[in-house]
Amino acid sequence: MNVWLVVLLAGVGSYLFRVSLVMLADRVILPERLERTSAFVAPAAFAALAAGGIAASTIGVEFALALPPLVAVAAAILAVFLTQSAIAAVLAGMPTLWVLSMVLGG
């Protein structure tokens, strides 16, 4: 299946979710458990996607190459603790990554 078709199908599926209960209209009571669980979707998805991306840059590569991303993540976490802003993670993490990569010759 090609890239365009995947994007299109992902869009169609997402739209069907959006429109589903709106079209069924009359009051639909959703299970409370489902509603509670949905609160964790964003943090779980963000964490899994972030961890997957970090793992791809660090697992199975030599130490000198794995170190800059790991320190960048640490700098990002510290910056967010201090500022409570997600973009601070990028503003602190990327320069850390660049500097360390340069120093370690990555």
Binding site: F17, S20, A47, A55, V73
Partner: protein
């Protein structure tokens, strides 16, 4: 304000769309950088940049778009990509169910359009207005004002990121911007115990399963994270 305490009805109605758009503005401060970053990642990924940008008007949900682009980039199987996207977007069914009562009696075409624009910020802005008393038509216009503002800003941000990102050298390692931004989004939410459990479980499983076949690591992480979060809250009552 010119004629005392009651504003003319026509003026209020005309303003409902603009009021919705204004209510969306604070959200844009957090959303536009995310859109820019996703646009950059679409440009840097090993897929046509336009296909990455198209996740905007089709999937129209930041985290699901990230999953689509990242998984396409690593060559994951289409079924795995679709499964991941649909699990991330399952919450849209909840939003659909919650807002359905307010859209009852509207035309089929209106609902089809309004539902297309349904996503976390438009849901919150819209529900806030629907739950207040007042004219329903104004509330619909308010929802559309907010939702359309968000849609335009999102697609522009993705486009700007994609154009800008295509010109940047790979030595900048911009593929790392998305994980860092997501780390930021997660760290911000760690105050709540159940959320913390969900996020840390999801991250741990995604790392351990990062070499799982078919790139199933991300979706496994999300599902176990959801289960971990849900069980904590239940025990707490």
């Amino acid at each position: 304000m010119t004629n005392g305490t009651v504003e003319p009805v026509a003026r209020v109605r005309g303003d409902a769309f603009a009021a919705g758009a204004r209510a969306m503005l604070p959200w844009l401060a957090g959303i536009v950088p995310f859109g820019l970053i996703i646009g950059v990642s679409a440009a840097q990924a090993d897929i046509p940049t336009l296909a990455g940008w198209l996740t905007g008007p089709t999937v129209y949900a930041g985290s699901a778009q990230v999953a689509t682009i990242e998984l396409l980039n690593v060559g994951a199987a289409p079924a795995v990509i679709l499964l991941t996207v649909l699990i991330i977007n399952l919450r849209l069914v909840l939003y659909s169910g919650a807002i359905a009562a307010h859209w009852r009696g509207t035309s089929w075409r209106w609902r089809a359009t309004a539902a297309y624009l349904l996503i976390d910020p438009s849901f919150v802005v819209g529900m806030d207005r629907y739950q207040r008393h007042g004219d329903r038509h104004d509330a619909h216009r308010y929802y559309l004002g907010g939702a359309i503002t968000l849609w335009v800003a999102w697609l522009l941000a993705l486009g700007a990121g994609a154009v800008f990102g295509a010109r940047l050298p790979t030595a900048l390692r911009l593929e790392f911007v998305i994980p860092l931004y997501l780390v930021g989004e997660v760290v911000r939410r760690l105050d709540d115990r159940a959320t913390r459990r969900a996020a840390l479980t999801a991250a741990a499983v995604a790392v351990v399963a990062s070499s799982a076949p078919l790139h199933l690591g991300v979706v496994l992480g999300i599902v176990t994270g959801l289960i971990a979060g849900a069980t904590v809250r239940e025990r707490n009552g």
